[in-house]
Amino acid sequence: MAAAGRRDAPEAPDFGILKRLARDQLIYLLEQLPGKKDLFIEADLMSPLDRIANVSILKQHEVDKLYKVETRPAPSASDQFCFLVRPRIRTMRYIADIVNADKMSGRSRKYKIIFSPQKFYACEMVLEEEGVFGDVTCDEWSFYLLPLDEDIISMELPEFFRDYFLEGDHRWINSVARALQLLNSLYGPFGRAYGIGRCAKMSYELWRDLEEESEGDGQGRKPEIGSIFLMDRDTDYVTALCSQVVYEGLVDDTFRIKCGSVDFGPDVTSSDKSIKVLLNAQDKVFSQIRNEHFSSVFGFLSQKSRNLQAQYDRRRGMDIKQMKNFVSQELKGLKQEHRLLSLHIGACESIMKKKTKQDFQEMIKAEHSLLEGFDIRESTSFIEEHIDRQVSPIESLRLMCLLSITENGLVPKDYRSLKTQYLQSYGPEHLLTFHNLKRIGLLTEQAAGETLTAVESRVSKLVTDRAAGKITDAFNSLARKSNFRAISKKLGLIPRLDGEYDLKMPRDMAYVFSGAYVPLSCKIIEQVSAARVSPRPGGSPAAHPCPVPQVLERRGWQGLEEVLRLLNGHEFSVSGSAGAGPGGAGRGCGSHSLCPAQTARRRTARPRRRSASCSPCSWGAAPSPRSRPCGSWARSEGASSSS
């Protein structure tokens, strides 16, 4: 919205190239197996594949039948099988079973496995163990990045979060590095790279190694991406834990946005069938309301429908020529808009039904007091009641995690009682859930007696500041303590207000959480790349609440050291490899905020989806829809600084 409104905003790079590249490679790989073949697709690759190549393209390249990779072996008569899969052990076993079953019954077929985005050694090992390595051919489909919209690209790797943060599995880092390499080769050298977090650092370093090995010839090209930000998800869990109140977020909460599209059920479409709608900037209605606070969406939509009616009404009193013009040029657009409008109004109604209930209001209230740190006792008993009444297992866990993070862990007494209550409500198997949540530091118990922060402050009195910082780092990496209070104070993440927060004319990013919280990752990007608070279109350049002094395009993390220390360190900042100085890096282009690795896409990264025992994750290479306003903000500011 901000970017769209500004004439001096640089144009976003054409991410369509990524799509075309992926399609061409896929076709090439399919053609490697000439003749008719059956294609087996991994379930979670289906939606991304749909965005790259539809069924008719596949059919053109002699794909006969399509199957989903699942436990039941498919009864197929084809002589060639092609498997399009994620590199997973489970899937390898499935393929091996098919091959072995064919061998038993004396059938000979050709098998080809295409791994997306890359092949892992472990997969080949499994194939070898099962004795089918010689029977299959393997290929890689380097489909690292899927452009979901004009300004969002995603890796669509749902297992990243669990693998890396819970299991400590580092294999996907390589994929991240390769994705960076791809971006770098397509859109020119990055002006500057910033990163926070261990994973971000590893990914960056691996990417640098890859670049050195490949000696890319991208030098001297016009860079299209100014700066990149790599951030670990665990630097900012709070954003993922708060209830979404922006339109797009609520659509996701209610209907689940998958791969940039959503299925609107019969209650929305007011017909008897579901409609799949692509949610992106092409949708004229959606692009205008996606980032609006839900409270203002209805008003906007009704205004829009009045406008639309007015445009329709213009027909009256037209002469033939004008009418011809109208029908040939405008009518189609109007009709399209009309259809979209009715869909979004339907969606709004559905959301309203769910979210205007008493429970939801009270939950938001509890959430806000948790963020502000008031009435913790009351919030705790709210959560307890929430669990007792079996309102929703996931929401209960989410609130507990929020409580834990904002309070640096739960008081042992509360931890025990909440856990007991939870187990009573949902069964003892959730002992594991709690264990996992504890391991990734989402739901922890305060150590009895002294908290670590207390130890830390005592130590810092004894030694120099620098040493204290190091010791804190050590402590932090031990316990992964979140210093939510300190950080939010430093960066002003909790807006202090007198009176109501004006949601219609918000003065900062906090409006995405009804004025309760500014997403940390976005704030940091703002801090790093902002020179001053840029005037928002229609907004007044209010005094920024942030106490940190602002400089013109920060060199590195200068001035933010304290914050970074609280964020567990591992930060880095490197100026562009293209020789462009920090100042020139962004010339003519926005510092595009790419926070891959850990600024996981909000909806998928949310640990509150189901229990953590199965927490899914993917990371987006761009701000999530949820944090989008901040993302585009950062871009616009980058632009203003360079102009």
Partner: protein
């Protein structure tokens, strides 16, 4: 046709020999009976008196089944409808096609198996003619109805009726017709006068055989060869056209002098032979017509019936059963007069050798000079196979054996195999058995099918001896036959259960591959449950025993068997079966008497308890007291749930504590719920929430009111109001509204829809927000008074 009148014929023509002198003592002429003989030396069915039905309605026709040697296998008086045609299926079942289109199936012993109908159309128009035919799909039935339409079923095991298209202009029945099977499609060929029509699934087309003489005349008879490859057409001018059944090629033609329509015409040829001939039978005359212009004529002494076979024709008459075939090449070579073929020389040599004459050496030398000794031996072996007389077989085999002595590397298999085969063939050709298979037929039929046929004829001892002789694997051979025998044995109703069971066990013993449970299942099917149980005693595999016992509703026996077996899975099978079968009381009584089963039933749960117990120990070791306590509680809960499940016969296992208590209340077990609440120290608040929502779901408002008065609610009374409103029960909700504490009372009154009281409460509190809230709920039309009251109060409040 007597044997003396049968010299060896010149090459290319048939030779006949007598198979049996028929022992059936027929009083009737064959022409008065309806005859059907099964191919491959199969049984013969006769229906006597069928034509005389109208004359003496008292005398029922008699259906008799004979072996090929004329031994009576079974007979029954025919009581069903008018029969049109008899025929045999490939598995030697008798098909009796009635006039109304019903087809009855009998086995070899005249025991009724089942019946099927050829459809309504046939029922209405009646069967005019019918033919039973064999194709790769199995045995089929084709019917010509009274309306001159054809209906057919290609496989009677998988009945699909097909009505063939109409033949245009067909007013009278065709003079002759046949069923052809080409490229897996079954078609009907019919002749009307001088025209030939081909009927396939969709259309009717006129066809002309290639090379047909223009003066051929009208067709009177047609014959399809055994393998459906060849077709012969006979016209009223005595012209016979022989060609491929596809009507694409003529093979040869023949002119015969006899003009009268023949009784039967069948092909007589052996597979892969180039000699083709048809045999045409008139009342007293038989003609073998082949490619040569001269046919061979035989005089028939009595009425005869021709049965086409794979490699020849069987000729049945009242007194004898003969076989007419083309002499096989090997036999021709050897037995041709003055033959100099190596085989003939070898036979001669061997004869001289036996006479101790030195001529033997001369003959042998002659063969060896031509280096034809291996051929000579093979020829003798082959010829022996085609011989019917054991003496000739022996002579030829002896010659082969003699020749073999002078060869270094002659593989013995063919000789040994031929000796075995001949022994088998001679055994089944015996008069008592009466299966006159030729070597060619036997090879086509295979030993497995032959054994099946012996089993069908209940010739179990012979079959077993053959298996032993041929050293067939037990499971394929002896055991299978014994099992068949046992299954037959259990059907013998005249013997006591004990006797039969013992006889079976005595015979079968521990033969591998015998499934006593299968025999028992058969006994059970025959209604002999006691026998089945006795037989099951012999079944060593409990896994087979138990399911049948359960099927026979001997569940207690099944349970003890299962327990004896020591197989827990089996016990579970029975226990779960019992649980569904019996009511709860009897179920537990049964288990009570079987402590093992009872404990296993418990263990199903205890197994999980055990796993949890292990986890508990580990948690203690790890000093994770919280988890240990949670696990302990879960163990306690599981045990409790098991009791609940037993007591209330409803699923409680695997529910969380909350859901368990909630379900108990839903089902009205308030005492038990209370007990859990105390035992697990469920917090008051949870319990109250849980209880009121469960009670509301149950609609038990009375209990809810009682509960609300039991003590002071820890969650207040607003939830009571809310939950009643949620269940659309305003009446109940109103009961609780006054008990809501003052600060929530406005909300409660609004919820129950009592705006007046809500307004009063708000005014009493002097709270502007509350007043506004109530105002917003007021509608102008109905609540004008309330609104006014509020507005006044608000104005007053603001003034101050």
């Amino acid at each position: 046709m007597s044997r003396e009148a049968q010299p060896w014929h010149p090459p290319g023509v048939g030779a006949g020999f007598e198979l049996y002198t028929m022992g059936w003592n027929l009083k009737e002429d064959l022409r008065d009976c309806m005859v059907a003989a099964a191919p491959y030396g199969g049984p013969i069915a006769l229906l006597k008196n069928h034509a005389r039905k109208e004359k003496s309605p008292g005398a029922r026709p008699l259906l008799e089944i004979y072996s090929a040697s004329g031994l009576l296998l079974a007979s029954i008086p025919w009581k069903s409808g008018q029969l049109v045609q008899l025929g045999w299926t490939a598995s030697e079942d008798l098909l009796c096609i009635q006039e109304d289109g019903t087809v009855l199936i009998y086995n070899l012993f005249c025991e009724f198996k089942r019946h099927f109908s050829m459809g309504n159309e046939v029922l209405q128009n009646h069967v005019l003619e019918a033919k039973v035919f064999h194709s790769e799909f199995g045995t089929g039935v084709a019917i010509l109805t009274g309306s001159h339409r054809f209906s057919l079923a290609t496989n009677i095991e998988d009945l699909k009726l097909r009505r063939m298209p109409e033949v245009p202009g067909l007013q009278k029945p065709p003079s002759c017709w046949a069923v052809l099977s080409q490229d897996r499609v079954t078609i009907v060929l019919l002749a009307v006068g001088q025209d030939l029509y081909l009927l396939d699934n969709t259309s009717c087309s006129v066809v002309t055989p290639p090379g047909l003489s223009p003066s051929a005349g009208a067709y009177v008879q047609m014959a399809v060869s055994f393998t459906h490859r060849c077709l012969a057409l006979l016209t009223d001018t005595g012209y016979i056209w022989m060609g491929l059944a596809s009507l694409k090629e003529k093979l040869c033609e023949f002119h015969c002098s006899i003009r009268s329509p023949p009784k039967q015409m069948v092909w007589c040829m052996r597979p892969r032979s180039r000699q083709r001939a048809v045999v045409v039978a008139w009342d007293r005359q038989l003609l073998v017509a082949g490619s040569s212009s001269e046919g061979i004529q035989f005089v028939l002494d009595e009425d005869s019936y021709l049965v086409p076979e794979l490699d020849g024709v069987r000729i049945l008459s009242r007194s004898s059963h003969e076989f007419l075939q083309e002499i096989p090449e090997a036999s021709q070579e050897i037995f041709k007069i003055a033959s100099m073929a190596p085989g003939a020389l070898l036979l001669e040599a061997q004869k001289e050798y036996e006479k101790e004459s030195q001529k033997a050496d001369e003959y042998l030398r002659e063969i060896k000079e031509q280096k034809l000794l291996p051929e000579a031996v093979s020829q003798c072996i082959e010829a022996a196979g085609h011989e019917h007389e054991p003496d000739t077989q022996k002579a030829l085999l002896r010659a082969a054996s003699f020749g073999k002595c002078f060869l270094d590397k002659f593989p013995p298999e063919s000789f040994v195999r031929m000796c075995q085969d001949l022994r088998v063939l001679n055994a089944i050709r015996d008069y008592q058995i009466g299966i006159p298979l030729t070597f060619t037929q036997y090879k086509r039929l295979t030993i497995e099918v032959l054994l099946d046929r012996l089993v069908l004829r209940r010739l179990y001892p012979l079959a077993i001896r053959m298996c032993e002789y041929l050293r067939l694997s037990e499971i394929q051979g002896v055991s299978r036959i014994l099992a068949h025998w046992a299954c037959y044995k259990v059907q013998q109703k005249d013997k006591s259960d004990e006797e039969v069971a013992q006889a079976i066990n005595h015979k079968l013993g521990d033969t591998p591959g015998i499934s006593y449970s299968e025999i028992a299942a058969r006994a059970y099917d025959c209604g002999r449950t006691e026998l089945a149980i006795k037989l099951l005693e012999y079944e060593p595999r409990s896994g087979e025993q138990v399911p049948l016992l359960l099927k026979m509703k001997r569940s207690k026996l099944a349970l003890s068997k299962a327990i004896e077996s020591g197989d827990t899975d089996l016990v579970y099978t029975v226990v779960l079966h019992l649980k569904n079968e019996l009511n709860r009381g009897t179920f537990f009584m049964t288990l009570q008497n079987q402590p093992v089963a009872l404990s296993l039933y418990r263990q199903r749960i205890e197994g999980r308890v055990g796993a949890l117990q292990n986890a508990l120990d580990e948690f203690y070791k790890a000093k994770n007291e919280f988890a240990a306590k949670a696990t302990e509680e879960q163990i306690k809960l599981l045990r409790l749930q098991r009791h609940l499940q037993e007591d209330f016969d409803k699923p409680y296992l695997d529910l969380s504590l909350h859901d368990t208590v909630s379900n108990l209340i839903l089902d009205g077990h308030h005492k038990r719920a209370e007990q859990l609440y105390r035992e697990f120290k469920i917090p008051d608040k949870r319990y109250w929430w849980l209880k009121i929502s469960a009670l509301a779901n149950r609609g038990d408002w009375e209990e809810m009111e009682k509960f609300s008065k039991s003590k002071k609610s820890p969650i207040g009374y607003l939830p009571f109001v809310e939950i009643a409103v949620k269940h659309h029960n305003r009446y109940e909700a109103k009961k609780y509204a006054p008990r809501v504490p003052p600060e929530q009372r406005v909300r409660a009154f609004v919820l129950v829809g009592d705006l007046d009281q809500a307004a009063d409460a708000a005014i009493e509190h002097k709270n502007e927000t509350e007043m506004n809230f109530v105002l917003s709920k007021c509608s102008a039309s109905t609540d004008a008074a309330v609104a006014e009251k509020l507005n006044r109060a608000r104005a007053q409040l603001l003034k101050k």
